[in-house]
Symmetry: C2
Subunit: 216 residues, 2 copies
């Protein structure tokens, strides 16, 4: 839950993956360098925001040259920790768990699903993208033996807290939590919540508070 | 994309669904009133933050009494716009689209999936939770006839921009965007992005920058 590198704000960190995405797309299209002004236009943020954000990590730009796209892409990869492979498991092989296991894009960024777990006996032994669904009592052993650092929780909230405690005991580093509850864990375990219902409610709030008549 | 009620910050809005969730749980457990201090302990935010956040909408608390749980729950529901039914469609009936369609919790908050769309002919006509998958060429008519206000995009990024333009033409109010791209739409259409890969990267950043040795 805690970020010990306190100098970098959560807001800056939340913007880094978007820079990484745009730089990846620029690389794919063969662009070798880009000014903060051009990047600003594409990303719809101010050039000064881009400079400020990147200055947190040492800058990377050169006056009059702009940014070297490939260099910046790989530097941001290092900062995000996606230059290395992460072994990830998914706990809860229901619809959402299987959808995430099937999502090939994660492995492109180094997040490799190495295990799937569920307590539903009717699906244990089945495979998703070549990964077999295992029973929950194999969880501890698997994490320790296979150097798993991230666990994705796609289980009901009632079970999530207890499973999270087990994960903490096994030394997991990060939990990607889709269960609709907050997890109360030691500070050295990072939790990233994806509360889908809450995201929908933010959408609904913004619909209710956007004046659709005076615009267009 | 824009929130015309500029007095309320995005940060406050992003915290409202969490208040709503905690108040819902308190109601379920039969709690009738709660002080900001107690709520603060449960939610792990300061009591002054809670008071400040709720003061944006008129306060709701009474000195020496605290908050009336049921009243506050329904007031926040109104603010979030979840006191009314939202007709929602899902475009892209792949793994993620079907997982979202199967998620019963959304309809509890008034988000009712009334339509599913896909361009894959092999799945058209199949049903998910009683909702038939329709071909993309039925999209426009369906939105207009069925008073759809939210469209969920679970399609590849290449198709997302074009589909979003079609949705804008049909007068959709909000887009819940899971496609890994930004949508560039008129200001009166609200977009809420759920970029799963980027969420994973934030997790990875926080793992890389959390000191696991000095803690526990």
């Amino acid at each position: 839950m805690s970020n010990k590198d306190n100098s970098i704000s959560k807001a800056v960190v939340s913007r880094l993956p978007r820079y990484y995405r745009y730089l990846g797309e620029l690389m794919e299209s063969g662009t070798e360098r880009i000014s903060s002004g051009e990047l600003s236009k594409r990303m719809n943020v101010t050039a000064s925001q881009i400079r400020q954000d990147l200055n947190n990590f040492g800058g990377f730009g050169q006056q009059g040259y702009g940014y070297n796209v490939k260099y910046l892409y790989f530097e941001i990869a290092k900062i995000l920790g996606v230059d290395k492979k992460h072994n990830m498991i998914i706990i809860g092989a229901g619809n959402l768990g299987r959808a995430l296991a099937n999502y090939a894009n994660f492995s492109k960024s180094g997040f490799v699903v190495t295990g799937l777990f569920d307590n539903n006996e009717t699906i244990i032994g089945k495979e998703v993208r070549g990964v077999k669904i295992q029973p929950m009592d194999k969880l501890k052993e698997f994490i320790i033996k296979n150097d798993v650092d991230i666990a994705t929780l796609t289980i009901p909230k009632k079970e999530a807290k207890k499973v999270a405690e087990t994960l903490a005991e096994c030394g997991i580093k990060g939990i990607w939590n889709f269960a609709h509850t907050d997890l109360d864990l030691p500070d050295n375990i990072v939790v990233e919540n994806v509360h889908l219902s809450e995201s929908l409610m933010e959408l609904s709030y913004n619909i209710a508070h956007t004046d659709t008549k005076s615009q267009r």
